[in-house]
Amino acid sequence: MSEQAQALLSARDVVQEFVVRQAGGVRGGVVHAVSGVSFDVMPGETLGVVGETGSGKSTLAQAILQAPRPKSGSVIFRGTDLTKLRGRKLLRARRHLQFVFQDPFSSLDPKWRVRSIIEEPLIAYRTGDRAARRKRVDELLDLVGLDPARYARRHPRELSGGQAQRVAIARAVALEPSLIICDEAVSSLDVLIQAQVLNLFERLRGELGLSYLFIAHDLALVKQVSDRVAVMYLGKLCEVGPGESVYQQPLHPYTQLLLDSIPSTEPGAARASVTIKGEPPSPIHPPSGCRFRTRCPRAADICASEAPPMRELASGHMVACHFPLAAPATPATSLMKEAAQ
């Protein structure tokens, strides 16, 4: 890929596995949480990652942040491979990579005042003197739509969920990062507050030129904020592509089933749609070949024996499936590229 050189974040074959122990410390098995995931985030772009509980999307986010480090693969952020960095060098590189979590009340220290919470990253990276930092905190509170005079001296418990999440966002943008990883950042908020926070993310994207890696289980939400969308199932990406084409012409049967599961605002409409069968298999014993084959309506023998490679079927729209749903007019060039590999 030619864009690789300019990508802000580029993950290549990221693998994360955990050993689970049974009673007595006996090795119980290996959880294959993330198994060879590759993607790029361009400057100014939002990449959405959707997947269900246990699909490994949060583990992937943590692997990018090197907390904990992935087992193998590389995470190239602004030209340096984070997996190779240690100590102070890693800290310095990570300054431009910030995180917003799902539950603001467990990610904000309950004993600290809002002002100190937002000031902490500025102190950690020795930015300016005390007066300059205080001024910056006020600016940041203004930026996220909280009045510094009213909120700077409060504790997290004196804030509503939406306000607390704004504080978490102010802390994340304090060091002027270039990429923010949002892990279910609006999932715990009420729908009206969620819309406010989503609009705040959009505004900051424009004003600060941010890129986002936006992880969520809600497909419509991810569509709303993302330029490109990646669909994850049991530790692997099934489909990556521009938001519009992934949602309008999904290529992977799993994406189709996810889309069919969204309740519509049309009365009675959802009752007609097909629901997905069964439970997701255990990541300790993932199915051979394609990991979705055990629940897939299109599965055939080849799906059990061979893991489908990621291939590009339309411009920028990639799928890992032996029997993709729609076969759009495949440009001959991409077929040739495939044959050459």
Partner: protein, 332 residues
């Protein structure tokens, strides 16, 4: 409406706090017909859960409850605990949001279902166990005989919610209250559980009250919708009157809720139409319409006097001085 299964009239619940009081539920009336589905929609703190807990008799003693809730004509509010227990489980059952916290982690799934059966019916242990496996099969649990012997931590979120539903259905209740029963689940699991609930509802001719913050879910699955804001019903109608091509939302709060849901049709990065602020402080409700401080169409009359919930069109009630025209008119 004498044929209603559950008839709630002017239900009020308040809690004393310091010198003031919180009116969590403030004059709520609705009815549920046998076999029908009612959705109660609202944000956190709108009183939807308190309302249903009052009906179930699950509120702490310090809650002051007035009004009436009649199940097949029999009053539930003010019943002594012993009599309420007879109703709970056998006539009305409830499924909660977090199955991990409502199941006993030290008991096997099957034993918890059997316990529910034996609480209300005089059957032998073995008979109860056989019925429990049958219930697990009914809620479409994969490998029911095996899951019967497993502990909650060995089950996935969706499977735990199936166990909860099995417990709730153990005595074939006439009314099931699902309090955010699918909120903690993934979309695909949510769709599975909702389909299951609707199938069981038809099989058992059971009425369902869905408590949710998700209007999309209500639109897809409910017959009748009640929208709560700050303890009061602000709009009440059949789902077909509110949603879809022929529907029209009139109350501006319902409109705002509907507009704030991310839609697949919207282009990426489009800003959502938002209302500012947050729900009012329940100890200091404004004198007028509770939504007025956040409403783009609020006028002087909205701030001065609260609109009553009136039936403006057949079966469609709303409480608003300046309702939306034909369901549109958001944010202009």
């Amino acid at each position: 409406m004498t044929d209603a299964l559950l008839q709630v009239e002017d239900l009020r619940v308040s809690f004393a706090v310091g010198r003031g009081e919180i009116r969590a539920v403030d004059g709520v009336s609705f009815s549920v017909s046998p076999g029908a589905t009612l959705a109660i929609i609202g944000e956190s703190g709108s009183g939807k859960t308190v309302c249903c807990r009052a009906i179930m008799g699950l509120l702490p003693a310090r809650a002051a409850i007035s009004g009436s809730a009649r199940l097949r004509g029999g009053e539930l509010i003010g019943l002594p605990e012993a009599e309420l227990r007879m109703h709970r489980g056998s006539d009305i059952a409830m499924v909660f949001q977090d199955p991990a916290r409502s199941l006993n982690p030290t008991m096997r799934a099957g034993a918890q279902i059997a316990e529910a059966i034996r609480t209300h019916r005089q059957v032998s242990k073995r008979e109860a166990q056989a019925q429990a496996v049958e219930l697990l099969r009914m809620v479409r649990m994969p490998l029911p005989e095996r899951r019967f012997h497993e502990y909650p931590h060995q089950l996935s979120g969706g499977m735990r919610q199936r166990v909860m539903i099995a417990i709730a259905l153990a005595c074939r209740p006439k009314l099931l209250i699902a309090d955010e029963a699918t909120t903690a689940l993934d979309v695909t699991t949510q769709a599975q559980i909702m389909e299951l609930l609707l199938d069981l509802q038809q099989q058992m001719d059971m009425a369902l009250i869905m408590i949710s913050h998700d209007l999309g879910l209500a639109a897809s699955y409910a017959d009748e919708v009640v929208v709560l804001y700050a303890g009061k019903i602000v709009e009440q109608a059949a789902a077909v009157q509110l949603f879809g091509t022929s529907g029209a939302v009139r109350m501006r709060y319902t409109r705002a809720l509907l507009d704030a849901i991310p839609h697949l049709e919207r282009p990426a990065h489009a800003l959502l139409p938002v209302v500012g602020g947050r729900p009012p402080d329940p100890t200091a409700l404004p004198p007028g319409c509770a939504f007025a401080p956040r409403c783009s169409h609020a006028a002087d009359d909205c701030l001065a006097k609260a609109p009553a919930l009136l039936e403006h069109a057949a079966g469609h009630r709303w409480a608003c001085w300046h309702p939306c025209e034909n369901g549109t008119g958001s944010g202009n």
